[in-house]
Symmetry: C2
Subunit: 226 residues, 2 copies
């Protein structure tokens, strides 16, 4: 019974999974907290409180999907930054800026992506994340090798530790700055661009002079366990 009007929502949603992730990204952006409820989410998507469970085993899996979406847009933004052109250094600059902007623009998402939430003691990070993170790292490495720091650095085994060191330096600095800005520990956010620029500028100058080699037995980037 009850096939009343044509606007009637069909029993099956059609593409609930995407809809849920989208709604979740919205909620995340609004509340800036990971503690939103699945039920609220379901309400917003106009489905019953248990519908999401047909697409995600539990909340953590949902968050992982959100995080993966975040990685995708980050990759896009960084890629676009490179498209901007210029020499390797300018490109590196633009990429780092895109990175910070992405993080500052949605701190909660950034924390979800890079904070330990998804990779707790028991849990292993979802595969998509690892892949995306590695892509990002490779992109950085390429730029550095291509001369992002002022001079090209041949990608020979002898230089690997130095390249890794440079990546770590870039990443640490930018990661830290992003979070400090996002959390309001430095600011104002409006000037994040300028702050990042002068900071990265300074660091690049320093790195150009001499790269800190990474100690042996250390790694940079997600460890693929298996």
């Amino acid at each position: 019974m009850a096939q009343t009007n044509p606007h009637e929502r069909p029993y099956h949603h059609g593409d609930l999974r995407r809809a849920i992730v989208k709604a979740a990204l919205e909620i995340l952006h609004e509340t800036q907290s990971l503690e939103f409820s699945l039920r609220e989410l379901a309400r917003r998507a106009g489905v019953s409180h248990n519908a999401p469970y047909k697409h995600f085993a539990d909340k953590r899996e949902l968050l992982a999907a959100i995080s993966a979406a975040g990685f995708e847009t980050l990759a896009k933004r960084m890629a676009r930054a490179i498209m901007g052109g210029g020499n390797a250094r300018e490109q590196l600059f633009a990429v780092l800026r895109a990175y910070v902007d992405h993080g500052v623009g949605n701190p909660a998402l950034y924390r979800l992506m890079f904070g330990g939430y998804l990779s707790g003691p028991n849990h292993s990070r979802p595969a998509i994340e690892l892949a995306e993170a590695n892509k990002t790292k490779a992109l950085l490495a390429d730029l550095i090798v291509a001369g992002g720091l002022g001079r090209a650095i041949p990608d020979i085994p002898r230089n690997r530790p130095k390249i890794a060191g440079a990546i770590l330096a870039c990443w640490s600095l930018v990661h830290g700055l992003t979070l400090l800005l996002a959390d309001g520990l430095v600011g104002p956010r409006k000037k994040s661009g300028a702050m990042g620029d002068s900071l990265v500028q300074g660091m690049l100058d320093g790195l150009a002079a001499d790269l800190p080699a990474l100690p042996p037995g250390t790694w940079v980037g997600p460890q693929v366990s298996l």
Copy 2:
């Protein structure tokens, strides 16, 4: 009735507040998650599920207390690092190392302290935190002024932006490194000391050459709103 044996727990605990914070620190250390329940905490402390509410208005206030405790021990560790002696540069080095060690040793606590959790959109950071954070910042500033970067930098107005820039650089780098290590995005944790050393070394060299001045209108450290 029931005053059976002398080991009987008295109706009043005596120093429940401290006991709760202590238990909370333990749980936090074990679970590495902020999502433990107040009730579990109360259970552990051997009191009823509502006793904590006599000392903390809500969970957030409890977390703030934990965070404050974290800041205290951090300050102590950094102070002890300075006691170690050496020239300004060595002291700066030791301080930064203590900072990273503290964070890596208890990531969840570190995230609680410096992550946005307590300073969400609506909430203002508790006063203790601001005070402690400022203390830390001042300590860094002193070391830098005293020559932590290789040469002394007169603390005159003209140099303020550069000093702030140096602090921001140090803090960002160390903050980022700490979180990357804590979250296992770089590693292994065992070598955090070595990694931090080489990284900070490299950065200090870079900074020594030329300090990135902070753009005008920006700040470093907790903004005292009021």
